[in-house]
């Protein structure tokens, strides 16, 4: 199986702290790969390293292209979509304007938006800052889907969402994953189990586990050891 993303010995240092200490893993070019780990272990930083948003060394390849020296906008325009941890929609811009940043011609009128997020079409003139958290997450997702991507980097898309919305977001991701591989950071293990195929676990700055998603999630001892939580402790939300 070929991989869409390859990290080899990636390091990130913020001032004095050495956050990523030689991270290496591959993301297969189909399905959802979940990136897991305790809070503050460097999952977001890993995504940012891929995008050139964190100061990094090492080798990062998207398909066969080395991107570690490239500027962020080129990496993204080259086919890497990014849904950041806190949605980061442009609050002062309307829903439509948020989308037009990526797709100037159609914005909210792009077919995929109507198909996946009909609610956004109705709220096209609403300022994104006044949307609910779930709606903002839809904007953040819709934004990247307006472009053809080789890979999506999605950071905790269900954080702080009501259960019903969690399911909706998971449905969207599962659908998207049939055509575009996704590297997903997610704390919600049942969701991981539902949509992810493989998992990569970070701890203390390196990759400590790689394998099948279901196998990890269903092994309470392993999840406790690697993630410090068990499914039972988290509640089967």
């Amino acid at each position: 199986m070929t991989s869409v993303l390859t990290l080899e010995d990636v390091h990130v240092r913020y001032g004095g702290s050495h956050v990523l200490q030689g991270v290496s893993f591959e993301v297969p070019d189909t399905g959802v790969t979940a990136l897991l780990g305790r809070n503050g272990v460097g999952k977001t930083t890993t995504l940012k390293a891929v995008l050139g948003l964190a100061p990094r060394t090492g080798t990062i390849r998207v398909r066969d292209r080395e991107v570690q020296g490239e500027r962020t906008h080129r990496i993204v325009a080259g086919g890497v979509g990014y849904v950041p941890e806190d949605r980061e929609v442009f609050g002062g811009l309307t829903v439509d304007e948020n989308l037009r940043l990526v797709d100037q011609a159609s914005g909210v009128d792009a077919p995929i938006v109507g198909e996946l997020f009909p609610d956004l079409v109705a709220r096209r003139h609403q300022r994104a800052g006044t949307l609910s958290g779930g709606q903002q997450q839809m904007v953040s997702l819709a934004r990247v889907l307006l472009r053809d991507n080789d890979l999506l980097l999605v950071d905790e898309p269900t954080k702080g969402l009501a259960p019903k919305l969690v399911t909706e977001v998971a449905d969207v991701l599962a659908r998207v994953a049939t055509t575009t591989p996704i590297l997903l950071v997610e704390q919600n293990l049942p969701l991981v189990r539902r949509i992810a195929d493989t998992v990569v676990v970070l701890d203390a700055g390196t990759v400590v586990h790689r394998g099948d998603a279901a196998a990890l999630v269903e092994d309470p001892e392993l999840t406790t050891e690697l993630l410090g939580v068990s499914m039972r402790a988290k509640g089967a939300a």
Partner: protein, 294 residues
């Protein structure tokens, strides 16, 4: 009554000049978080470019035409200066806001000195088109025509910039960039190119301000840009750091306050009243004035 009308018009005319001086500064600050101290040098560059152009054209040409050509030349010069400064000096210090300020401070000191070296420190008179030298009688007040010209240019600029921000792709990227530059970049948009364009635009507007201010003053001199810059700073701060409409409102308020104080208090108090206005605004509504960029 006619006195008051005169003061209002001259005040608004002066405010128009302040707006021209401050709008580029505010745009650049809003998007990039850069305090461009060299903005005064951009104005000076525009003023001298225009003066040299008017001087070089045959004096048989109508002054108005020469001024028009001079303005075009100044716009080109201002754009070029802005682009070059951004690419050469600002860009390598991306995100180091203090260093960026320091570099533009050095540039402003050096450029004023360079202008003094080349043209001397003495002011030179600039030719003013006859229609701008006249007055019109309105309600018994004799109002200088040039103030209306400044006012018209400022309002056109304000409208133009607002339209640019609202209706164009560049404006959309600028508005998004003011909120969150990193995320704009992370959507695959080259923000740095936008920075360069905005600096070029700021340079052009500053150059225009320089030309019109030299028309207002009747002379060009090396220190003109720097003194206008201080008023531009005051206007940008009062206007809320980076908001264009705020800047416009503040500019006209400052112009009016200055003229009113000059007339009703004592000549020369106007300049001081502007600083007092700034202090008052800072004391009364500090929370709305916190710059978006620390």
């Amino acid at each position: 009554m006619s006195d008051l009308l005169l003061i209002l018009v001259t005040g608004l005319g002066l405010g128009a000049l302040y707006f021209l001086a401050a709008s580029g500064l505010s745009l650049i600050y809003g998007l990039m978080g850069v305090l461009n101290f060299a903005h005064g040098s951009f104005m000076t560059a525009g003023a001298y470019a225009a003066w040299v152009t008017m001087d070089a054209m045959p004096s048989s040409t109508a002054v108005g035409l020469r001024l028009l050509v001079a303005v075009l030349v100044a716009l080109v010069v201002g754009t070029l200066v802005g682009v070059v400064v951004e690419v050469v000096l600002i860009r390598p210090l991306y995100r180091h806001h203090i260093q960026q300020v320091l570099v533009t401070v050095g540039l402003s000191l050096a450029s004023v000195a360079a202008v003094q070296g080349v043209f001397g420190s003495d002011p030179y008179p600039v030719a003013k088109p006859s229609f701008m030298r006249g007055t019109v009688d309105v309600l018994g007040a004799r109002l200088p025509v040039d103030r209306f010209v400044y006012l018209a240019v400022a309002l056109l600029l304000l409208g133009g910039l607002l339209a640019l921000l609202r209706y164009t792709r560049l404006g959309l990227v600028i508005r998004a960039g003011v909120e969150n530059r990193t995320m704009v970049e992370a959507l695959g948009i080259d923000v740095q190119r936008t920075f360069t364009i905005v600096f070029g635009l700021g340079g052009a507007v500053a150059a225009l301000a320089g030309v019109l201010f030299s028309q207002y003053a009747g002379t060009v001199s090396p220190l003109q840009g720097g003194s206008l810059l201080i008023y531009a700073f005051i206007v940008v701060v009062i206007g809320g750091m980076g908001s264009l409409t705020g800047t416009a409102v503040a500019a006209f308020a400052v112009g009016l306050v200055q003229q009113l104080a000059n007339y009703y208090a004592a000549s020369g108090i106007g300049d001081l009243s502007v600083v007092l206005l700034l202090a008052l605004v800072l004391l009364l509504r500090p929370s709305s004035l916190q710059g978006a960029h620390a």
